[in-house]
Amino acid sequence: MSESIALSAHPAPRSTASASWHRFKRNRLAFVSLWFLAGLTALVVVWPLTLKILSSGSPRAAEFAHRYGPDRLSDEQFQPPSTRHWFGTDVHGRDLFSRVLYGATVSLLAGILGTTVSLLIGVLWGAIAGYAGGRLDALMMRFVDILYSLPSIIFVILLITTLESVVKNWLAMVDLRWVGLARFLFLLVGLGAVSWLTMARIVRGQVLTLRRRAFVEASRVLGATPGHILIRHIIPHTFGIVIVYLTLTVPGIMLYESFLSYLGLGIQPPMASWGSLIAEGADQINSIRTYWWLIIFPSGFLITTLLALAFLGDGLRDMWDVDAAKGR
């Protein structure tokens, strides 16, 4: 009885998760950004599907799908945006709206999968170094230092070309189509491989403080193996800071992907990513005529997505930053 009175006198206590979610929702920009990213992802999935379904439909529908096919060449070169081609057309008369959406797939996938690769390496590396301590820690972290002082672009280029040559012949025997896909995968591996260094440092720092905490000691006393302690107790406790850092890594990797595609090392034509689309647009700049849509639309999408990710990151950090929330 007395308990229910006490409860009704105070507002119902929230669980940590729901309180965090509430804090997150209060951040309007972060919330809108989340919706924007969700909408973009949906569009990226739905648009190719629509085209695919329509292409096998009635003649009119098939004509529609044909017109917006991202790889379909036509005579309508360099058309400015109109009701027929919403974002205009490029040098080969391909519809830019479709190309931007197909490019979004590549850019977003690169961002997400590249980040996953860097997350796996970085968290494991940092956690093992921090937990093992001593010689192994020193050795592993010196390795990180050395990789830091190598220009990352050289490392990426060498990694991609090496991986490619190793697997290419082997893949070509199986199926030629796999080569393009393999190249994209190597791009992801390369991107992840140069982006895990900071993550490893951050995780190691966290693990160093976690290692001495009572619940970890308790688990050790109870006879848990180091692997069990790492996976069950230590790594889950680094998630907060890792997720915040992830929202910084995704834009970083997307930028790197656009840079590599710009170099011609990334995605190969006729496939496109935002980076390669921007590069194509930049090539068409001249003093006689500017095809502004070729550069404005892909850049616009890239910048908006990066902005959304940045706002989302700020929101997530506030969400986990309990001290700051209390101070407010």
Partner: protein, 315 residues
């Protein structure tokens, strides 16, 4: 003492880096002679490889690269094999030193200007955003900085050219000749980092403004300007200082995107092309330049920490 120890560690570190870079480029497929006129016959290719000692075991090549190799000639005399680090395998009329000496000053000038631009824009933006926290100045500056962080060089450079170069004809479109040519590349390269710096400083300022010594300063009756400039800024700038070490190393060794868009003869182009061409010696040379800059600048950063924050001590 601490710094002397760090300085002493630099040489082994550079050796390890050169070793790593050397082996990585050799591991990558293709050779320096792949992309030029096709060697007329396998014999010629073999002769080329023999001339540049590419047919030797890797470790011997590395020793030769460093100039630490002694060989026996037909008469049975030992003599020192000349060091191979200065011979560019791709541009065979030029030495690696030549190529770097030509490109590095250009890249360094552009990098230093971009760094100056980033600081000149980023520091005031971050400072005022923090000083006027919650007011419109804060929102404007914060929005500017987050926008700047989201616009990569390969987007802003074509846009700048399109508007300032072609549409309004105010500034030259490309090349590296007069001071006027410098403006667009500097902005294109520096804008991103000005956003980073503004965000770092704003955050640092907001953190320090809650510190006890700031409260004390306020209680003493110090003016707000004096508190912010003399006390808060000094500590808040520390994250910016530690960020500027790697940042400067990156900027001074050139940016491929900016240099290729604006046709600037810098070192950033070589950094990419040499590793695409498997120009072994140039890759290692450039990696070493980058590593030396990075290590040196990080030392400077740590030294600056001691000066700015007396609580920091190294042992």
């Amino acid at each position: 003492m601490y710094f002397l120890k760090r300085l002493a560690l630099t040489l082994p570190l550079l050796l390890v880096i050169s070793f790593l870079a050397f082996f990585l480029v050799h591991l990558a497929p293709g050779g320096p002679f792949d992309r030029e006129r096709k060697p007329a016959s396998p014999e010629i290719e073999r002769a080329l490889k023999a001339k540049y000692h590419l047919d030797e075991p890797l470790f011997k090549q590395y020793l030769r690269y460093l100039g630490l190799l002694w060989e026996v000639d037909q008469q049975g005399n030992w003599h020192h094999a000349p060091a191979g680090f200065d011979i560019s395998l791709r541009y065979r009329n030029h030495s690696v030193t030549d190529i770097i000496a030509q490109g590095l000053p250009v890249s360094m000038l552009l990098g230093a200007l971009a760094f100056g631009f980033a600081m000149a824009v980023g520091l005031p933006a971050g400072f005022f955003a923090a000083a006027r926290q919650g007011h419109w100045e804060d929102y404007a500056a914060s929005f500017f900085s987050i926008l700047a962080v989201c616009i990569p060089g390969l987007v802003i450079a074509p846009l700048l050219i399109m508007f300032f170069g072609i549409k309004w004809r105010l500034l030259p479109v490309a090349l590296w000749a007069s001071p006027v040519h410098v403006i667009l590349p500097t902005i294109a390269l520096g804008l991103f980092f000005s956003g980073r710096i503004a965000r770092l400083l704003r955050e640092g300022m907001l953190d320090t403004m809650n510190a006890r010594f700031i409260v004390t300063a306020r209680a003493k009756g110090l003016g707000e300007t004096a508190i912010l400039l003399k006390h808060a800024f000094r500590l808040a700038v520390l994250p910016v200082v530690s960020y500027s070490g790697p940042l400067l190393a990156d900027l001074l060794t050139g940016s491929f995107v900016i240099e290729s868009i604006f046709q600037i003869p810098g070192i950033g182009l070589h950094l990419v092309n040499s590793s695409l061409n498997s120009d072994y010696t140039l890759v290692v040379g450039l990696s070493l330049v980058y590593a030396i800059l990075l290590i040196g600048l990080n030392l400077l950063v740590d030294a600056a920490y001691v000066l700015l924050d007396r609580r920091v001590k190294y042992e």
